[in-house]
Amino acid sequence: METLDLLMLGFGIALEPLNLALVFFGCALGLFIGAMPGLGSVNGVAILLPMTFLVPPTGAIIFLAAIYYGAMYGGAISSIMLGIPGASTAVATTFDGRPLALAGKADQALITAAGASFIGGTVSVVLFTLFAPPLAEVALAFGSAEEFALMMLAFATFIGLGGDDIPKTLFSICIGLVLSAVGLDIISGEPRLIFGGLPGFFHGINFLVLAIGIYGIGEMLWTIESSSDGVKVSQASFGVGRIVLHLKGLKNTLKTTLMGSLLGYFVGILPAAGATPGSIMAYGMAKTMSKDPDSFGKGNIEGVAAPESANNAASTGSMLPMLTLGIPGSPTTAILLGGMVIWGLEPGPMLFVEHQDFVWALIASLYVANLAAMLINLAFIPAFIAILRTPFTILAPIIFVLCLVGGYAPTQSLHDIWLMLIFGVVGYLMRKLDYPLAPAVLAIVLGPLAETSMRQALIMSDGSLMIFFERPISGTIMGIAIVLFVLPAAKIYRSSIARKNN
């Protein structure tokens, strides 16, 4: 019961008028930043960090956590409405969110995303409250071999995502990983893959450049071509009755949502993994376990529920190693960590003893932020729906401009804008030939992590690949990954035999 008492103490602080106002303000701000293509929770938290000097430390961290939460909800909005992932964590949401919006079910997709995010957030905050210290120790057992195994698992789930053409899916993964290797080699520090000696390649290729190129410019070109016969973006109607209807419909996706929440939470806890692989794995898992896997990617509502519950759960989960061990689980928590250090709140095991009131106020504020973000999100859905009513010939150029400024903002280099255009055009040409491009975007996000962990593990084992199979945790994860790699191939083989017999 001690936990409950402490939580109540936390609520006492989190519900103070100033802190409550900060939660609502932070969530609203985060929602808008997350909904902008190109800007995600990392940008939001980083940009607004200095503004928190105006309030006391606890309020400041609560504010930043609320932005983080709001941005997690907001990422889904541009994924669904524009088909451009607002942040890497929302990449998987585009797969089914976009088809749903095109079919006139944007309201259902948005409400499901909000509902699933709420459930994911709540499940993980409850788990966080109950099991914080013991889970932190599990995360410590994760070395580079385990990290690499986890990456392999994430890649294995991509194969399931890519559709039937396995060589094209594998090609897409490989090219994403190669593009992630551009820039300075992380271990030796030597420059590599500097095409034409252009200085712009030294900072590597930001995943946003590829993501916005493919999902922004490529997608728009695709839509322009397919809408030339007069096909228009379908419109969605909206009303209070439909909100209630869709909220009731949430229970149909409850199983997927809960699974996504648990998976997201555990992946989120692991250092360096974070919300992106969590949401992708949840999507893959939902597809694999579904009775109707073929409907995924064509507008299955479970394809929205799974990644959205997982990315919110993971964002809470990734705060756990940050608070208990001082190891950030994601780039955003790394910045939060920086913010805490500025305020003299040194994260680590002692934090729970020395700054008990702060820790519990933060945990309690996560409950509040979760509720606030959902309410604000639901309130703004009509405005988001209105975007879809805009004629395509006005919406398209505005989206191009958004892509441009959104792609420029993170690195502030025009070189990246040119790359974005090239990726967009090439991606559009490849997409016409059924090359799945999502795996490439996911691979460029996970690439640096996968490479570092693989090389570190190989250095530890002096070149023996057995390190990935000998250690119990990494061995188990590798085993699951290999099964997932083989499964789709076996499925295609079986169906091709069945076709021959017919």
């Binding site: 940009i47 060589p167 090609f171 728009m220 070109l221 401009v401 441009l404 059924d434």
Partner: protein
């Protein structure tokens, strides 16, 4: 469609080979006490890309993939012109950012797209083209302190900086 599939697979195969050569500029073998060389990761993945291309061509020969059986045209003839115009307009817009800056390139692009391609009336076209850069300016430069590229138009913004920053 069938020809496009082969051309794309061959082009990507050449790209893979080029990436292999480029990666090999760094050591790709095992370096004692340092682990795999810096070029190893991209080198073997590019090799993987090449193998995938071989399989794609193989499936093309066997007519296994749906696109290699398709008799449709690669470009929908009705849309080819519009797509090309949009790509050219985008290229010109990005190119002109270097010279006239983003706050002049954006309205020109929007005006062209909404008025000429979209055939909307002047009022709407001008409204969209003028409000977009104004909103961008306040959101990026004032609220987020992110400077967007202005090319030679930079001096025109000095008075605005004085007022808002």
């Amino acid at each position: 469609m069938r020809r496009a599939e082969l051309v794309m697979a061959l082009a990507l195969g050449v790209l893979s080979a080029y990436l292999m050569v480029k990666s090999a500029e760094l050591p790709i073998g095992w370096i004692p006490r340092e682990g795999p060389g810096g070029g190893a990761f991209p080198f073997w993945l590019s090799a993987g890309m090449l193998v995938c291309c071989v399989f794609i061509v193989l499936r093309w020969v066997l007519r296994q993939s749906p696109v290699s059986r398709s008799a449709e045209l690669y470009f929908n003839p009705a849309a080819r012109g519009t797509v090309m115009i949009v790509i050219i307009a985008l290229t010109l817009m990005i190119g002109s950012i270097h010279i006239i800056g983003i706050y002049f390139a954006i309205p020109l692009f929007l005006l062209y797209y909404v008025r000429v391609i979209g055939r909307h009336n002047w009022l709407l076209s001008l409204g969209v083209s003028i409000s977009a850069p104004v909103i961008s300016f306040f959101f990026f430069e004032i609220a987020l302190h992110i400077t967007l590229p202005k090319g030679y138009s930079e001096p025109l913004f000095y008075p605005l900086y004085d007022i808002f920053l």
